[in-house]
């Protein structure tokens, strides 16, 4: 699991002289963001259940608003091909009393296409309420998106990331097949990750324009 290095793996990596993957970190420190002044705060990246830069996995790049809940969005996505679970990651958020909590989700993935690539979206909101409540955007669920290539199917090379492309594909599917209103790249979350990768962790390909797609759930 990215960011959590098991001891045997760490020993093996050191013995092999490999550099740690911690260098493959976000461009700026992870930040708690809000959609509106009185709205709930959540981190702009998912990852390990901490706040370290090295543990960040993918950028928040989709916001489901209106009448969204985890249950509702997942049920709808399952009907359009997002039927497989992935590996769990966490997203930090702040509760009304100021406590920082971490919600985890395995997300939903499409089946592997002929090219060996699937689309993976993880959805986060407080488990207690199944949604964030924002005075401006209503019931909100936040999502991270990425592509997985050769993740349990197909022939390598294994590649992960391309969040911008995953966001585009999900937005297309939601708009065309669910008929939900989609405003692409509508929210400037500030988590821009120019296309890049690092030699030490080259399977992890960053790419996000920092603008989340807003989906209005009826």
């Amino acid at each position: 699991m990215r960011g959590i290095v098991a001891l045997p793996a760490l020993i093996a990596a050191v013995a092999a002289g490999a550099l740690p993957a911690a260098a493959d970190a976000p461009r700026r420190p992870p930040t708690l963001i809000r959609l509106s002044d009185a709205g709930p705060a959540f981190l702009d990246y998912d990852g390990t259940p901490d706040l370290s830069a090295a543990g960040r996995d993918w950028t928040v790049s989709m916001i489901f608003a209106g009448h969204a809940s985890i249950r509702k969005v997942k049920a709808a996505l399952r009907t359009v091909g997002f039927t497989r679970p992935g590996h769990a990651r966490y997203l930090a958020y702040r509760t009304a009393d100021g406590t920082l909590r971490f919600d985890s989700d395995r997300g939903l993935k499409t089946r592997c296409a002929a090219d060996g690539t699937d689309v993976h979206v993880r959805l986060y909101a407080p488990t207690a309420t199944d949604r964030f409540v924002d005075p401006r955007y209503g019931s909100v669920v936040v999502g991270t998106t990425h592509l997985d290539r050769a993740d349990g199917c197909s022939t390598p090379p294994q590649l992960f990331g391309f969040s911008e492309e995953a966001e585009r594909r999900i937005a297309d599917t939601v708009a065309r097949r669910l008929g939900w209103r989609v405003q692409r790249n509508h929210l400037a979350l500030g988590n821009r990750e120019p296309y890049r990768r690092d030699v030490t962790d080259s399977a992890h390909v960053w790419w996000n324009d920092g603008r989340a797609t807003l989906v209005v759930v009826p």
Binding site: A18, T127, Q158, L159, T200
Partner: protein, 310 residues
């Protein structure tokens, strides 16, 4: 009506013993995991309501079993309110932390036990160390079959560092900012790829037509920029491409080159890494839109870090 008359024992319990192991309520008893926001359970003869900071900071599980957790960085109070249903009376309220003996928080020693009681406990969870722990509240009546319990999951963890807080994010109709690389860099990368396509390591991969440069970005080496990584799209997909291309292994000193032989049933896109210090291609990999049937690095798996991702 609260008819609490006399439940002896401390109202506040400072610590829960952790020595000894007692099985959680025996057969036939009711223990429920509570995830409901209200902290209210109604099982058997008692209605149990939990509240307070410890309750608020409990670990929750969603339908998939995924956790929603807060780290307990100090011992916190838990308030337990019990009401007997259908006139059931309360003989004792107990608490058990995994592997420990039941700690009696309050017990009835009078002739008539109450039908309602409230106690506050301070379970000593910090001493258990970081990780997930379970705590059970159980209530017993005067009769042996009058028992009910509630179990919570809690996560003891580290104190978190301060986190940066941003301003509310603006909605915008403006297009996203363009990719941040200079025109000079773009020209240089196109020239290098073009050379490798004509006479170098990409000759058997890209064919004769110039590819589309979808993205050009930084190639880091332990966080330090050493070159460029480019996402190329072929002008037209190529079928049954068999080629040998460079790849690399990360090492303490940087990286070590290797060769990778591959077959692409259909090649639509290619990731190309260039080390600008030496002006050479150090890796080429079919991208997420390409279909491969063979991928054989001659030394070790590549790309790096592939085993710990999803």
């Amino acid at each position: 009506m609260r008819t609490r008359t006399k439940l002896a024992g401390g109202v506040a319990v400072a610590a829960v013993a952790v020595a000894g192991a007692v099985a959680i309520l025996g057969g036939g008893d009711t223990v429920s995991d509570v995830a409901a926001p209200l902290g209210l359970t109604e099982h058997g003869p008692f209605r149990i309501r939990l509240s307070g900071p410890l309750w608020n900071d409990r670990t929750l599980r969603d339908q998939d079993g995924s956790r929603d957790l807060a780290y307990l960085t100090r011992d916190e109070p838990l308030t337990i309110a019990v009401e007997g249903r259908d006139g059931a009376r309360i003989a004792s309220i107990g608490l058990r932390v995994e592997g420990a003996a039941r700690q009696v928080l309050d017990a009835c020693r009078g002739a008539t036990c109450p039908t309602a009681a409230t106690v506050t406990a301070h379970p000593a969870l910090q001493r258990l160390g970081h990780g997930s722990h379970h705590l059970t509240v159980d209530v017993r009546g005067p009769q042996a079959d009058q028992r009910a319990g509630v179990r919570m999951e809690l996560t003891v963890g580290p104190r978190l560092p301060p986190v940066r807080e941003g301003d509310p994010v603006p909605a915008t109709a403006a297009p996203p900012p363009p990719t941040a690389y200079s025109a000079d860099l773009g020209r240089r990368v196109r020239a290098l790829v073009g050379r490798e396509q004509r006479v170098g390591v990409l000759r058997g991969v890209l064919g004769a037509t110039a590819p589309i440069f979808v993205q050009i970005g930084e190639l880091g080496l332990g966080g330090r920029g050493v070159g460029v990584t480019a996402l190329l799209e072929l002008a037209a997909p190529r079928r049954n491409v068999r080629a040998t291309v460079p790849g690399y292994l990360a090492t303490a000193a940087g990286y070590r080159l290797q060769s990778v032989s591959f077959t692409a049933v259909e090649l639509r896109d290619l990731l190309v890494d260039l080390d600008l210090r030496g002006g050479r291609v150090i890796a080429a990999e079919p991208g997420p839109a390409s279909q491969t049937s063979r991928w054989d690095p001659d030394q070790a798996p590549t790309p790096t870090g592939a085993g710990d991702e999803d």
